[in-house]
């Protein structure tokens, strides 16, 4: 099998005593949209900067098309980056910003202008070609930054939290624009973000990083439904995690006793033995809610402490005892029949087979 477009092989980056990236293995294939996600300081930006050549790995190897590129200077590779703060050149107008990469590669004046204008048209920015950067709105600047990076028609585009400065509405619009662009161009996008919904919405594959290591890599669905460890389960904000001890194991099910009740969960291979400690993950969107009884076999009760609207989705926060918070996520219309108020006792329940047991 030929090697992937870009390969990171046991890549380590140290800054003095501090280890930013602690041995990352990553294959990025031709044409995929990979999101690298994690909390700040997890090493995701450093990883991206090493791909761009702005940092040199302390150990390991980075290969592009099978060729080691560790020592190549940033200007010797074609790995354009869309910066978090965009880093547009304030002394150049829009079209000159876009032309920059072509000019540095010695493309002649007329061809340069033509190719840049094509990109500006594609990003519906043609009429702004001679404007100053300062005269553009946030979303327009964003598109200039993307056009500037893509004008050299690279094999891979790196994006470092490019949407973090935009307001929520614009962010969603830019997300779909970026996705469409990636589909049309068919080139590889490596997208760094701390925002889970952004990563899940856009990427075909998600790598979750923490403490300089990749914790899990897989499709958004895999990462969402089958987190590889406690960190990933916790980082995906909509999960409830319950720790307990196995009290019985019958056939395909185990019974787990936790501080908040006893629950059934599907067994995994190998089946846990009686007395083992397990972590159960319950996704907030798989939970039913009622004011009088549990709908499914696994029931937990709690007092409603707060609710949060995100468009049509409502998240209810229940206190299930000693300050532990349990999240339930529902469509707004599903809660129409439920009469609830703050401080009220509610029954949250879910199917045993919807319980995910974290690998030990």
């Amino acid at each position: 099998m030929p090697e992937a477009l870009l390969v990171l092989d046991q890549v380590v980056k140290r800054f003095g005593e501090h280890i930013a990236v602690a041995g990352v293995d990553l294959d990025i294939s031709q044409g995929e949209f990979l999101a690298i996600m994690g909390p700040s300081g997890c090493g995701k930006t450093t990883t991206l900067r090493m791909i761009a050549g702005l940092e040199e790995p302390s150990e390991g190897e980075i290969r592009l098309n099978g060729k080691r590129i560790n020592e190549l200077k940033p200007w010797q590779r074609d790995t354009p980056l869309v910066w978090q703060n965009l880093a547009l050149f304030p002394h150049l107008n829009v079209v000159k910003n876009v032309e920059f990469g072509l000019k540095m590669r010695g493309v002649g004046g007329r061809e340069r202008r033509e190719r840049s204008m094509n990109w500006l048209e594609r990003m519906s920015l043609a009429e702004y070609a001679n404007r100053n950067i300062a005269q553009l709105s946030g979303g327009e600047r964003q598109r200039v930054a993307i056009a500037r990076a893509l004008v050299t028609e690279p094999e891979i585009l790196l994006l470092d939290e490019p949407l973090s400065a935009l307001d929520a509405h614009l962010r969603v619009r830019m997300q779909s624009e970026i996705m469409q662009l990636q589909k049309q161009l068919g080139i590889t996008f490596a997208y760094v973000t701390h925002n889970q919904s952004e990563a899940f919405a856009m990427a075909s594959r998600v790598a979750v990083m923490n403490s300089g290591l990749i914790q899990q890599i897989g499709s958004p669905r895999e990462v969402y439904r089958a987190p590889a460890n406690h960190f990933v389960a916790e980082f995906i904000g909509s999960n409830n995690i319950l720790t307990g001890t196995v009290t019985a194991s019958q056939g395909s099910q185990v019974t787990v006793e936790t501080a908040h009740g006893t629950f059934q969960a599907p067994t995994q291979d190998p089946a846990p033995a009686q007395g083992d400690t397990l972590e159960l993950v319950v996704s907030a969107d798989l939970v039913a809610i009622s004011d009088h009884a549990g709908e499914y076999d696994n029931v937990i009760t709690g007092e409603l402490i707060s609710e949060e609207f995100i468009g049509s989705v409502i998240t209810l926060y229940l206190d299930i005892g000693d300050g532990t918070v349990f999240r339930v996520q529902k469509q707004q219309h599903e809660l129409d029949t439920l009469d609830y108020a703050s401080g009220q006792k509610l029954y949250a329940s879910w199917r045993p087979e919807d319980t995910y047991v974290l690998p030990a």
């Binding site: 702005l54 200077k73 940033p74 200007w75 880093a87 050149f89 920059f100 590669r105 300062a134």
Partner: protein, 267 residues
Amino acid sequence: MSIDRVIAYLLRSWLLLALIFVFTPIIISFIFSFSPKHYPTLPLGGFSTGWYEKIATEATVLPAFINSIKAGVIVAVISTFIGFAAAYTDYRYRFFGKNFYLALALLPPTIPVLILGLVMLIYLSRISLVGELHSVVFAHVVYCIPFAMALIRLRLAQMNPDLESAAWNLGANSWRAMRDVILPFTLPSIFAALALTMAVSFDEYMIAFFTSGISETLPVRVLVFLGGRVSPRINAVGSVVFTISMALVILAQILLLRRRGGERAAA
């Protein structure tokens, strides 16, 4: 009227009085430089450019003026170049002893000019460079670099630190990034530094007095005038020096303040 506004008016009046106090002698000197008489009296008794004609034809003034201009231009170019290099080093690199390097680079203006002039005289005479215009240039460059560096540092501090990396990322090597991004961005401050260092050199007296020898500059000539008989020529020479220096300083200000508005919106 509220008490705050009263205080604001009082403070403004105080500032105005202070400015009048500072500028009165200069303005009076300027006015009397156009007096036809030998002694300053009021009313002026006419308007005359006689003193300017006189200094223009005086054998000692014109060479001094030319010396000052020459020294000023050369000092401005050299000290702005070195000041830029020093400021860029500070902006770009982190290294051991950087604070010491910065302190050293910004030190000369804190040394009393009398001392600086004297040690320059001793030093330059040891290496047989004293008494020529290039001695003044050498000493003034040492004195002016920190001014240039400070102005250019200020501008670099306003620059998005990712801009240079962004240029590399788009295929510009270090040299192209310098030429196509750093230099255009700092250009206003480079011009401002040229104007300011030229102004500093142009009207600097003490260091020039010690190092110039026979190649005296205009401020040195003014003081030589003063040493002799007080003459309204001083008013004329003084006004020329003041006007040129002020013009350069104001030019530096304009260069620094221009375009700020637009960039703030972009930030």
